[in-house]
């Protein structure tokens, strides 16, 4: 165990997997000579050389397609988006080619690839650079969508993603890159795909969240504890597949749920999760499921407006009061 940053945990995962398997390589904008726009790949060019740490032109559609083609014949690419907002330029490659290839070919070709990079409302980056793409990609059968919220999960989940034989959308968060935490140095430390984590057990209400919103949710749980409300906090980690069993078990205990997400409300991840809980455990609910989401507006530049659009502790507490009829 060592205390390291989220970005270092990501790097460790990539370095360890590249040392283990020559088929793994990293490709993206500024990953090599610049040492990573967010310093995630710092030092990797020195260690692995230009054959395996590859700078690309600013051509997301092109280099994502190249990654997918390489994966079809047995390589295991890691493709970095400088931010996942830029993945929209490559949407066709991810949704039509990576996700469908195995199905369309009747199982003849698989695409073992990881698309990774940060996302989210990073701080005054404006509407084009602050996207939360999870709902777009989680919509698609064939893609697996992972979103780590801690340095330990960043490493264990990325290692599992690199070892997976399927296309993985691995979405980090810009505001988590500098977070520190204890991380295992076991080279086979893997966080299984599809397993949520109960970060804080509780009896009275289930708070379901992921990525950066975990911190706000945990802070809200502390605040609620002061009022004598015992919240259970679940970090989804895997957006698709969803760990519905863990959610149903929790809701069957607390009978109330609030979903906290940085995404937009309409057709956001919380809408899908809410539907699945209702299908599986409607009778267990003592109150309608509530959601705390970003406001239904483009992401503004102004610090004041940006803060106003995002979930915060007060908004979470208010929705918990609502489901508890307080």
């Amino acid at each position: 165990m060592a205390v390291i940053q989220y970005r270092e945990a990501l790097r460790q995962a990539m370095v360890e997997e590249m040392e283990r398997d020559d088929r793994v390589f990293l490709m993206g904008e500024e990953v090599a000579e610049y040492n990573g726009a967010y310093k995630v790949s710092q030092g990797m060019l020195d260690q692995f050389g230009p054959r395996r740490i590859i700078d690309t032109p600013i051509s997301e559609n092109g280099f994502c397609g190249i990654g997918i083609g390489a994966a079809m014949v047995g390589l295991r690419p890691i493709v970095e988006f400088m931010t996942f907002s830029f993945s929209y330029v490559a949407f066709d490659q991810l949704v039509n080619n990576a996700a469908n290839m195995r199905y369309m070919s009747g199982g003849q070709f698989s695409v073992p690839i990881v698309f990774r990079g940060n996302s989210g409302v990073g701080g005054s980056l404006g509407a084009t650079h602050s996207h939360r793409p999870e709902a777009f990609y989680a919509h698609v059968p064939g893609l697996t969508v992972l979103m780590p919220s801690t340095p330990a999960d960043a490493k264990g989940m990325l290692k599992a993603a690199i070892r997976s034989d399927d296309p993985i959308i691995f979405i980090e968060h810009e505001n988590l890159l500098g977070d520190k935490g204890e991380v295992s140095d076991d080279r086979d430390f893997l966080v299984p795909i599809g397993k949520a984590s109960i970060v804080r057990p509780g009896r009275d209400v289930t708070l379901i969240t992921y990525s950066r919103m975990l911190k706000i949710t945990l802070a809200a749980a502390e605040k609620l504890a002061e009022e004598g409300i015992d919240a259970e906090v679940i970090d989804l980690r895997s957006i698709r597949p969803l760990d519905i069993d863990t959610l149903v078990t929790s809701v069957s205990k607390t009978h109330r749920a609030v979903i906290i997400e940085e995404d937009w409300p309409y057709c956001g991840i919380g809408a899908g999760i809410s539907d699945r809980i209702m299908q599986k455990a409607f009778d267990e609910l003592d109150a309608p499921i509530r959601r705390v989401t970003a406001k239904d507006v483009p992401v503004p530049y102004s610090r004041v407006l940006e803060a106003a659009m995002l979930p915060d502790v007060g908004k979470v507490v208010a929705q918990v009061h609502d489901v508890l009829y307080r």
Partner: protein, 336 residues
């Protein structure tokens, strides 16, 4: 996979020529019968026929090694057959059967045959052009000397994916050969209305630091010759090539195309350049084939395609449980 020795031979042999003619005839017959099955609503969805363009695929795929790779767009039946796909598997696919080359999940536009290095028919215009560069990247990464052939129509020249892939392929000297089958139509929009220049080599070759080679795509031996040159370049690590093969499709863009954008006279005139007629005449002139042999060949191909249709008609439908199969390698968990 074993390597063939075709590439080492500078000229086209008699056997090879007769084999190529046979393949072109097989593709033409396959397409004609596909049209009938489409009209009978046995083939569904979109179906794009290759009739008229056969020499492009057969002449270029004909000089590949078994361990090379082939990508193409949605007009994919001809390339698949040229690469050795069993017509039974192709026909069964179009009839949506489990015995099809993609288990009935792909249809006409999505033929795949991993064993033959046939990397698929791809149905979004231009989308597969980066994939082919990716396979070429993998070849280079692994230190191999195979090559990847990638076909598309002139409409794909207008897609960003093509230009991104061309730039990177050249920058990284990838062993990929891009062949635009210029049939003069981007769906129903004629070349002069969709491209600032009708010389596509200007847009695809020197602009990206690779040779831009113009070839008569209806001349199968010329197709073979320019592809051999490009293969030599690819295998030597000199990078990609761009070949513009001028050709003409006899049928509409797809089966649902009434072809109102071109005159009957134009289409009739184009048939004078029918690559099959041209090659048959050439082989007869050389004394490499005679009329009785040719007739026998035609009959055999008719029977082979009929056999493929019978196979496809009698093949089982995909089992309903296959709906959820082959989505991911890991057990698939439907989010339902």
């Amino acid at each position: 996979m074993a390597q063939t020795t075709t590439e080492a031979k500078p000229a086209v042999t008699r056997n090879q020529s007769v084999g190529w003619l046979r393949q072109m005839l097989l593709i033409r017959r396959f397409e004609e019968q596909s049209a009938k099955l489409y009209q009978q609503q046995k083939i569904l969805g979109f179906c794009h026929l290759y009739s008229g363009q056969e020499a492009v695929a057969v002449g270029s795929i004909g000089v590949l090694r078994e361990d090379d790779y082939v990508f193409t767009a949605y007009r994919d039946h001809g390339h698949a057959i040229a690469r050795g796909m069993d017509p039974k598997a192709g026909m069964a696919e179009m009839l949506g059967k489990v015995s099809g080359c993609s288990k009935g999940k792909g249809g006409s536009m999505h033929f795949f045959d991993a064993e033959k290095g046939f990397m698929g028919g791809h149905a979004i215009v231009g989308s597969h052009i980066p994939l082919a560069a990716g396979v070429a990247f993998a070849i280079k990464y692994k230190g191999g000397d195979q090559a990847c052939l990638c076909y598309f129509g002139d409409g794909a020249m207008d897609q960003g994916a093509l230009h991104e892939a061309f730039n990177i392929a050249s920058l990284w000297k990838l062993p990929v050969i891009y062949i635009v089958e210029n049939n003069m139509m981007s769906m129903g929009t004629q070349l002069h209305r969709h491209s600032w220049t009708t010389d596509l080599t200007l847009r695809g070759g020197p602009a990206y630091g690779m040779p831009g080679i113009l070839v008569d795509g209806n001349d199968i031996e010329e197709m073979a010759r320019v592809t051999r040159d490009a293969l030599r370049r690819a295998r030597a690590g000199e990078g990609p090539s761009f070949i513009e093969a001028k050709t003409y499709r006899f049928r509409g863009h797809s089966m649902s195309d009434p072809m109102k954008y071109r005159s009957k006279e134009e289409a009739e005139k184009a048939k004078e350049g029918d690559p099959i007629v041209l090659f048959e005449s050439l082989l007869k002139e050389r004394g490499w084939i005679d009329e009785p042999t040719l007739e026998e060949m035609h009959e055999k191909i008719k029977a082979e395609v009929e056999e493929a249709i019978q196979f496809a008609e009698h093949a089982p439908e995909p089992p309903l449980e296959s709906l959820y199969q082959d989505i991911t390698v890991a057990p698939f968990i439907p989010q339902e």
